[in-house]
């Protein structure tokens, strides 16, 4: 029972994940049925149809969904059956190679922690980086690009100059410095909170005493996950990736702007915001999805690079990047610490790439070859 409680977050996310994929699959299936029975052929239906026929893309989609599910459900399974967690150390069993007998199928790291469960937990973080970062980049980039493209003239010029400036700067400088500054800012907030907690000691102490069981579990999570600075880091990685998207969206909007339906809407006096919201965005949504999917591997790799520099997730958490960075230094003595995380990360990134390619082929074959 306690294992359920400890992993409730992951299991909830796993349920949501499965639900999302089932919804997508059903949606595609329904569209295909409609097309096959000779029903209306909308742009979306056509696209989904093409996508569904692309075997690599389907395999990739399956791979991503299975790996995602494994990352979310795996730690709970390992905890329930063998009592293996990603943070519990077992120093005498440090750095042993993979073996069948002691249930460490991927071997252990020098602290005696199982590599398999750390790869799975790392997957949660790395895929989260891809999704959260991608969403942030997509949102900011779409808004920025649409406004810039639709406004035109001087506003467009200025906004594009800013984007060019950001495009040319290596993002490392920005993220590192952001990391240092955000870290300091976050600490200030933490200190204020601790001070406030200390002042209200009496009532909160009572509350603490009544919620012993769940509180213990939560404390363990809290203690293990440290400060949630890494969420801010995900956002930072995403924010640094938006210029590319903004430029592409702007190009698209410039093209769409001159189309008849937009001119018509403008003629009848629709406000710019409504035009953007109801006419432009639905038409560029496809491109946004494509480029976001194609951008996810580079976001995951950016996080890996930050982990290499020591600026990634705090210990004892791991991400694929930090596992690979650690493993690369010992590849001649403890190959399993590099081989397993690297293979799984590569397979996942392959899958994202193929899926993105498939989406691009499906949504606009004319886009092929352009990046």
């Amino acid at each position: 029972m306690t294992t359920f409680v400890r992993h409730w977050g992951e299991l909830a996310a796993a349920a949501a994940w499965v639900a999302a994929w089932i919804w997508i699959a059903l949606h595609i299936h329904a569209l295909r049925m409609r097309v096959a029975s000779g029903g209306g052929e909308s742009l979306w239906a056509d696209a989904w149809n093409r996508l569904a026929k692309n075997r690599m893309a389907i395999i990739s989609a399956w791979t991503i969904s299975v790996i995602g599910l494994a990352c979310l459900v795996g730690p709970w399974l390992l905890d329930a059956t063998y009592g293996i967690t990603y943070f519990a150390q077992n120093l005498p069993l440090g750095a042993v190679p993979p073996s069948w007998s002691n249930h460490h199928w991927f071997g252990t790291d020098p602290h005696g922690r199982d590599v398999l469960v750390r790869v799975l937990v790392g997957g949660q973080i790395s895929i989260a980086v891809g999704i959260v970062g991608g969403t942030v980049a997509a949102t900011v980039g779409t808004l920025y690009g649409t406004i810039s493209g639709y406004a035109g003239g001087k506003i467009d010029e200025v906004m594009m100059r800013i984007v060019e400036a950001l495009y040319a700067l290596p993002f490392m400088l920005i993220v590192i410095v952001l990391g240092a500054v955000l870290g300091a800012v976050f600490e200030e907030k933490q200190k204020e909170q601790d001070a406030a907690d200390a002042q209200q000691q009496a009532p909160s102490a009572k509350i603490r005493r009544t919620e012993s069981g769940a509180e213990d579990a939560k404390k363990q999570e809290q203690g293990a996950k440290g400060s949630s600075i890494f969420i801010l880091l995900f956002v930072a990685i995403g924010l640094v990736a938006w210029p590319t998207l903004a430029r592409v969206i702007r190009g698209q909007v410039l093209g769409l702007k001159r189309r008849e339906f937009v001119l018509a809407a403008h003629a009848i006096g629709t406000s710019p915001w409504r035009i953007i919201r109801w006419h432009l965005i639905p038409n560029i949504l496809g491109i946004v999805i494509v480029y976001t999917t194609l951008m996810m591997p580079s976001l995951v790799l950016s996080e890996a690079f930050l982990s290499y520099l020591g600026l990634g997730v705090p210990a004892p958490l791991a991400s694929w990047g930090s596992l690979i960075a650690d493993g690369a230094t010992v590849m001649d003595v403890h190959l399993w610490r590099l081989a397993f995380p690297a293979t799984i990360m590569c397979v996942t990134l392959f899958a994202f790439n193929f899926l993105g390619d498939g989406l691009r082929d499906a949504l606009d074959p004319k886009l092929r070859g352009v990046d």
């Binding site: 100059r161 400036a165 290596p170 092929r368 990046d371």
Partner: protein, 345 residues
């Protein structure tokens, strides 16, 4: 005429953005806690005051900013991380030996090994600094373009054959495996185990090979994919088929017609590739112990070395902007369709 006015506009833009970027970097750096001289032991206040005075740290912020900008030219304040050097001499080391007066760009060095054998070794830019990073970076870019475009064109011509799939498979590996894995792998296999090349070090031609491959591999993969995609676009265009029907030799078709337009996506990616190579040089210089300036990108921020950080930012931004300008210019020159029009991307 058009080109000149465009150039002038770009230069003005560069100057303005340079000021904005340096101000922003400076502001962020000052916002971060810490100082350049922090040590384990507490410092006497009098000592601390001396240090702070020498480093302009207690002046109002606009005086500080100007102090560091001016320092790039005068070199009065040493770098805070390397106290014996000025920021400019860290980035641009002296290219001649001040003791003997000999040049240190390309020269022969006589060496006697412990067993008595004498060798003459060709040394190239052994003082490192920007020159080392530049050589490795340019080498990586050339490697990426050379290998990547060749592979991409090859693959496009033999579309869907085994070669195509294998090459694109390698491209996928290049894109998904980080360079801090490829670097140590090459260093270990080729350097330590096989002994064909040194696993680390700097100063001779043989020290250049592995870093260039490590740094360029990912971008060769990108260029391969893009050139293949671009080539596929133009392979079946009418004017190409016409040329072939006219009897123009195959290689001429490839070079004159297909490459010029098929490489558009490659040219577009040059900017981000250069930027990525600059960031990747941090890893390569650490793994292969190259005394370049990549490490300063990270270290000067972490060590709060304001003087060096200012110099690095200005240098980097200028270099990248110039590179981007060259790319834009070549874009306009290559494709007559975009000439005379404002670039749309």
């Amino acid at each position: 005429m058009h080109i000149l006015s465009w150039l002038r506009r770009k230069c003005i833009m560069l100057a303005i953005t340079l000021v904005v970027v340096t101000l922003a970097t400076f502001a962020i750096m000052k916002a971060a806690p810490g100082n350049p001289y922090a040590t384990d032991r507490k410092i006497e206040p009098a000592v601390e005051r001396a240090i702070r005075k020498a480093l302009c740290l207690d002046e109002p912020w606009h005086v500080q900013y100007w102090c560091y900008v001016k320092n790039m030219a005068t070199g009065e304040i040493p770098s805070m991380r390397y106290e014996d050097k000025t920021p400019m001499s860290v980035i641009f080391p002296s290219l001649y030996d001040q003791r003997t007066g000999k040049q240190r760009i390309l020269y022969w060095e006589d060496r006697t090994r412990y067993d008595g054998t004498k060798v003459r070794v060709l040394k190239i830019l052994p003082d490192g600094g920007l020159f080392a990073s530049f050589v490795v970076g340019c080498g990586a870019l050339l490697f990426a373009i050379g290998v990547g475009v060749t592979a991409g064109v090859f693959a496009a011509k033999r579309r869907n054959s085994l070669i195509d799939h294998c090459l694109m498979g390698w491209a996928m590996i290049g894109i998904t495996v980080p360079n801090f894995v490829i670097g140590p792998l090459l260093a270990y296999v080729v350097g330590t185990r096989l002994g064909w090349l040194p696993s680390s070090g700097w100063g001779e031609l043989r020290h250049l090979v592995l870093p260039i491959i490590t740094l360029g591999f990912a971008y060769a993969a990108y260029f391969g994919r893009f050139s293949r995609g671009g080539m596929l676009e133009v392979l079946n265009e009418d004017y190409v088929r016409t040329a072939r029907a006219k009897g123009v030799p195959e290689w001429r078709i490839t070079v004159w017609h297909e490459l010029k337009l098929g490489l558009q996506p490659v040219v577009t990616f040059l900017g981000p590739a250069a930027s990525g190579i600059v960031v990747g040089s941090i890893v390569v210089e650490t793994v292969f112990q190259i005394p370049g300036i990549g490490r300063h990108l990270v270290e000067s921020a972490l060590a709060r070395d304001y003087t060096l950080l200012m110099a690095m930012t200005v240098l980097l931004f200028t270099l990248l902007s110039v590179a981007n300008m060259i790319v834009d210019l070549s874009y306009q020159l290559i494709d007559p369709r975009t000439r005379g029009k404002e670039a749309t991307s």
